[in-house]
Amino acid sequence: MTVEQIGSEGKDQFPIGMRVLAVDDDPTCLLLLGTLLRRCQYHVTTTSQAKTALKMLRENKNKFDLVISDVHMPDMDGFKLLEHVGLEMDLPVIMLSANGDTKLVMKGITHGACDYLLKPVRIEELQNIWQHVVRRKKKDRCNSGSKEKPHPDSGEAAGIGNVDNNGKLNKKRKDQNEDEDYERDENGHDNEDPSAQKKPRVVWSVELHRKFVAAVNQLGIDKAVPKKILELMNVEKLTRENVASHLQKFRLYLKRISCVANQQANMAAALGTADSAYLRMGSLNGLGNFHTLAGSDQLHNAAFRSFPPSGVLGRLNTPAGLGIRGLPSPGTIQLGHVQNSGNPTNDLSKLQSFVPGNHNTNILQGMPMSLELDRLQHNKSVGHIGELPTTDSTTVFPGSGNLVDARITGFSNNPLLGVTSNSLMLEGSSQQATSHTSVSAIGFQNGNALSDFTSIAPASNQLQDSKAGSQGQASPINCNAGQIIRSAPQEWNAPRKDAPYQSHASINSSIPINSAMIQLGQCLDRNNSIFHKTTDLDSVGPLNFVDPLSIKHGEGDNSIMEPSVIEKEGYLMFQPRPHGSHVPDNIGSLEDLASAMMKQEGGCNGYSLRTSI
């Protein structure tokens, strides 16, 4: 919570004095908005230029609590501003428009807006906008807290460093004790100490963020510890804590985008939005083939998470594993967000290759795997899985140069089984031959534990290059894709409320699915491919097949258990915890992850993507 004057004595009169930045090119509306906000007793700064707004925000990240922006502006698209703010400053952003088209609203949400208001805006609506600030802070805290271990109650690690620099927040939350427990990787610097040590907030510019992502990719998301990242980034004045906190946010962000991506895919499919290509994923009729992207070795290694297979396996069979299945996924996770076509800035999605650990086990339990698509290199970070044409389409996801780690977290409602015909090709950047985008999309079912897995295994670059058309935006690897993947055209009986992807039904079984979405949690040794080679995966190298046998649906309504999860060198990686620590007790972390995920997921719906970064 912030008070009007930063650093003033801790009198917190929030929401009074909440600092809002209002952006609107229409002077009439801006004047009105500003006046209304002042009437609500907020501290208001107005500007008619988006660029000016960004500048103000960048100057001092801690200057504002909330941003309200018009959608249609001449100098910069409101959505773009939204992304920037979310990525760089992690502030809640409310969109404002005279146009209340569902599509636009959807777009706002997927780009991370925490609310969408229609003009003319009324004071009653503005009186409650402070909730977004609170919510975000709370969530961040919650997330950081749960990373470590499920914190059912306390959840609020004070470490949400960057969100609120002044320690007041922490104090309020009383999580001082959390700090100690806090993982060392986590940003602990701005917790507890109240105004005493207020480190200046680091502005995560696009450049900086790029370096960050590159470093993370290089290390591999599971091995990416702040210390190493910091070293790789080699930026002055950046502390380990800054990196740690950013890493945390980044992970959340990825989770979130996959969550949103899923939702979006669902919605999109329902709405038929044209925007998100990934929507097509959901609605793909007969998704094409998902070619697993063959990741290059380095990718694999990097991404590879070494879970002891047995451990994982064991996990699977354990109640925990089973329990995971039962976890209600909030919905399919979609990476849709990422797709903002052409907005490169933010999404770092790294496609990470997930290695399905044990072939025998069905790895996919309803754990969400996060799929990150690295967009460093290209603007189209969004992988539109949706692009897959019915037959054999491969979606190429341009990954960043050398790494396209796609970690898809998807919750799919459908038990995905036969990852069959969908070939999701994640292509590293088109330029780079090496890019291997290994995308493991993990589809999760909402509530149904798994069986949906779409693991987009890293596909070979070559593969990708050719095929797909391009839409290679990795990010939209919808987890839905996972669902789509079915070898046999099985109808998803899964009653998915929002399952847009009836498309799977149309997937021909004949088409091998290269990528299987594998539910999280099973970090599998890539070598143990669960996947057996598939047959005719065109151009896909060795396909590994995930044996879905063990995949059980949480809800059991899907009978689609096709053992056709084919994954090319598939590996599903799942990072149990978004924090830097690797794998340690991962097995144990499945549960944790699950619960963490659940928590995440809970917030996922409608959660602004922005929050995570």
């Binding site: 229409d26 002077p27 009439t28 509306c29 004047l31 009105l32 006046t35 209304l36 009437r39 249609h72 428009s97 005279a98 146009n99 003009k119 003319p120 009324r122 004071i123």
Partner: protein, 150 residues
């Protein structure tokens, strides 16, 4: 409750603005924002609106002179116009802009032209009425409270 005849007249004028559909609820919101700290708020906003909207109308006119019509652009302008009109509660003007946009979306050039003419008329009427209203308001002194249209 207006004892002062001028105030009474003002109230009547104001009421007729609502009754005739020139302004809507949003206008009341503006009035509610007017207070001692901001005694001429409504007029300020409306004046700002005039300036801005005049510019947009000009743009639209120019765009309508270029054939074939660039509907996308026309729609964009009108969207802007609609936004600010709705912000001050200009009801009829807003309705007309919606209509214009419909015509744009369906590519109906004729409809656009007609609708635009109508819009300009409404806009002119509104300006006149509001102008008179504010003038009287200034003479009458601050109105006590904003009252809801019946």
């Amino acid at each position: 409750m207006e004892r002062n005849p001028m105030r009474r007249q003002l109230a009547i004028m104001r009421q007729s603005l609502f009754d005739q559909g020139h302004v809507d609820e949003q206008f009341v919101q503006l009035e509610e924002l007017q207070d001692d700290a901001n005694p001429n708020f409504v007029e300020e906003v409306v004046t700002l609106y005039y300036r801005d909207s005049a510019r947009i109308i000009l743009n639209i006119e120019q765009a309508l002179e270029r054939k074939p019509f660039d509907f996308r652009k026309l729609d964009a302008y009108m969207h802007q116009f609609k936004g600010s009109s709705s912000s001050i509660g200009a009801k009829k003007v807003k309705a007309e802009s919606t209509l214009f946009r419909e015509y744009c979306k369906s590519g109906n050039g004729e409809g656009c032209m007609r609708s635009f003419q109508q819009l300009k008329k409404e806009y002119a009427t509104l300006r006149k009425k509001l102008g008179a209203y504010f003038q009287l308001a200034r003479q009458a002194g601050p109105v006590e409270t904003a009252s809801r249209p019946k």
